[in-house]
Symmetry: C2
Subunit: 217 residues, 2 copies
């Protein structure tokens, strides 16, 4: 599970300093990007001396990996909390989407930091997505067995759903202020539930796209 080489700090002080560095890195990597963020930027942000960095990490790369793994773990925990107790799979999807958008809004840097990892440590980057996809696919397979979900390859379904949330989060949480997320959420859920083929029966001018009602993510 541990992907860097330096041992954990032995004292409470060490723990604290190390933690500061991780948090500083999250901010600095998010703001300036991995390559443009200097170790010195990070130590300054953390309020420690330059040399201190090398007490805890062998290099910048190890720190990025730690940050990405950490973000993944936090997001997974938040998603788990959001869907806890629900049994209706489409409700789970909705709440999962909502929680993801909320997390993204709270950690705008998430995307940038995770995406950076692709060019720094591709294994870490893939691990990040796999760590979501694997349990996601298992849950979808279970929902298929219980007859709630159409029988499509669960892994394909998982990546497709992750793609939807990733892109909608990027467009509407990161980029756009304009639109309210509730409307986006509704549209995404409807697409995921029924697909984009027009409903049978009625042909031409249907009602305008439905507007939001729920609270914002």
């Amino acid at each position: 599970m541990n992907h860097n080489s330096t041992p954990r700090p032995a004292t409470a002080r060490g723990q604290r300093t190390r933690q500061r560095l991780v948090e500083a890195a999250e901010a600095v990597f998010g703001r300036k990007g991995f390559e443009r963020a200097s170790i010195s930027d990070i130590t300054q942000q953390a309020g420690v001396a330059l040399g201190t960095f090398y007490v805890y990490f062998p290099d910048k790369q190890a720190l990025l990996v730690e940050v990405v793994d950490g973000l993944g773990a936090r997001l997974r925990a938040e998603l788990a909390r959001a869907i806890a107790g629900r049994t209706d799979r489409l409700e789970v999807e909705r709440e999962g989407f909502r929680a993801f958008f909320a997390f993204t809004a709270r950690h705008r840097l998430l995307y940038r930091v995770v995406r950076q990892s692709e060019f720094v440590d591709e294994a870490c980057f893939r691990r990040y997505y796999r760590s979501f996809a694997a349990p996601y696919a298992r849950a979808l397979a279970a929902a298929q067995r219980s007859g709630q979900v159409r029988r499509l390859d669960p892994e394909v379904l998982a990546y497709a759903l992750m793609g939807i949330t990733d892109f909608l989060g990027m467009r509407y949480v990161l980029w756009g202020r304009k639109r309210d997320m509730a409307a986006v959420l509704d549209a995404a859920v409807e697409l995921v539930r029924h697909g984009m083929a027009a409903p049978a029966g009625g042909g031409r001018p249907g009602p305008a796209p439905r507007r939001a009602r729920r609270r914002t993510a």
Copy 2:
């Protein structure tokens, strides 16, 4: 449309050299990543001297922007060709997906290069996706007016569909050798068409996920 400052070369020789640099950059950025690719790497790959670079580009960034814009233009052209003449919107989606996967397979660097741009010139990065989303949304809106497509916000729909293809391309074209793309394509199209809710009627054990038949993208 032109996002760099240096003027176009005046002679055929200049055109050729410039083009070599662009092609070299595509390969080198894809292989090493933007930041780790040195100008010298690029000029070597192009078979020209270091100083020549600055005749055609003010800096590395301008070259990346050119490469990304170029990739976008080529992919758009390829997609347009793939769907030309079709009127059934869901056939268009299928052929669009297929063409995207094929392009990705042929230019494995696409993802890496485009994603790099997020940290180098965010405007370029957004422009890339918008340049697909805008016409996509317009086409979807038209298909809604003609009663082929469910009335969901067209832009949301466009980004959701792009997210699906992006993630499936990443997972199954870039990462996985295992699975054949035809099966992935079928599953994606079925999801997009009907959604993931289990079909009405039948309850529990449906048939296993359908296998592929079509040619690989």
